[in-house]
Amino acid sequence: MRAGRSTPLAIVLTTAVAASIAVSAHRRDEYLQAARLAVEPDRVELQLDLTPGIAVADATIADLDRDRDGVLSEGEKRTYVGRVLDAVVLELDGRPILHWQSIESTFPGLNDFRRGEGTIQLHAVATLPHQRDGDHHLAFRNTNQRDGSVYLANALVPKSDRVTITAQRRDPAQRDLTIDYVLRAAPGASAATWLPGALTGVAILAALLMRPSRTV
């Protein structure tokens, strides 16, 4: 070890904070809802992570485990996912997008919630109607469990180079997020695609023209 870096564990501890402050390793009394939205020309993908704090875990469990048997059945999970997605509203250029389709969801064990480390992860997709090229506005509103929730909402960098996000507008709580973006036209067949075919066609044509004509 370098000189001066090895420090004995004997620590004189006088903390700068009041000792009576309860230590929280993580969120306690809030329900964190973190949304990430991927905008593509034909669809929007939603990844939504839901993490109830320790103090609200029992309420979440009661909401999930409707038959109180201590086990989350597939039906209970489906019901919960459906209720959450129903509460997540999406509008494209002022018109509602009616249907989220759940792609995947993972649920932690009930005891994970009680320890404050349980995160429900939802992945859903909404198909967008045909859009003209140009400016568009996608409005996202999370109305799920408004009491005691804190929100994060962010657009991911689009995978398609046809979509360029120009702005993100939110309310102060991040329940609402409007993504302004520009959609560009799908590029036509690129030179790399049509050039070999065109050259082949020209070669065939040239061969046909140069072929000696037969006379009977």
């Binding site: 870096r5 230590v23 390793a25 993580h26």
Partner: protein, 373 residues
Amino acid sequence: MHSRLRIALVALAGWFAIVTATAVAQRGATPASAGAQTTVTTRIVASAQALLNTLDDAGRARVQFPFDGPQKTRWSNLPSPMFQRTGLRLGDLTSTQRAAVMNLLSIALSRDGYRKATDIMRGDEVLRKQGSSVPRGGGPNAGGGAVNPGGQLAGRGRGPGGGVVFGEDEYYLAFVGTPSVTTPWMLQFGGHHLAINLTLLGSQATMAPSLPAAQPASYTFEGQTIRPLGRENDKAFALINALDPAQRSQAILGYRVADLVLGPGQEGRTIQPEGIRAPALSASQQTMLWDLVKEWTGIMNDAFAEPRMAELRGNLNDTYFAWSGPTTNGSAAYFRVQGPTLVIEYAPQSSVDHIHTIYRDPTNDYGAKFARR
């Protein structure tokens, strides 16, 4: 004819020099610094080997993981056993073995980085001495979760009744891949509020993703006030207060950011950048920005941190600084620095005394770029 030949040769040499310089810049290292980096990697590998030599077969098996296995992404800000870590637990080691671990860290990290890591660990020791705990909500394994007032640990990494435990013993070391100068491997060290993931391949190194955090954010040790992330906090507040009103209006987000957006488990995601673009900052403000960024990049050994900073400065035009919250130092405020190969987030957890931060490279988390080269 001769003069034309000479001109051609000069042009060819110039072209070669430009191509070489461009390639070196893209790799983020000059040949001389690449040599220095390889030397540091060699020292890290030797130190890792020295540690392995202090272990028995069981210890060596416990610390070693395959490079392409799931261990790489097994890290968290949470304390044990809320998050169950694997590897060598400091509390299980002899004094010789523990000294070998700390020696390895002192070589892999810069002086400031080592100080930061040990300050974070001591902060957790403060929590342990306070007898603090995370309450348990019940369930079959719940037992109230209180660490007993004397701070005695009840079993390996677990408090009485299975509760959460804090302290310097609760940090784990793992080698993901075999320590080597010629093949990629990762030095993984972490515990509550600390995750260092240093991936090495010869002259190349990345510390992304890593998570330095702090609670308490300020404590007294041997008569001195220790703030593990104090410089990050102070430099960020200095920067936001150095902006004029027009710049602030671009930098400050009009909404609350309650937590890290790209924290643990958010691999492979890139959010749309927001805030003020670095070219809109004055030269002195840009210097402040890079000085702030260096608090994260500079955790790893200087030989690796310097080329990393050069790479980031090269992305100035696409680097953003965003802020959410009050601008008076001492307040709880979130900030983010984001560029094409960088994400830094600083997120107070409801108070200034509990800070989470994250450092990522969207193009090179866990050395993804090394594998492609």
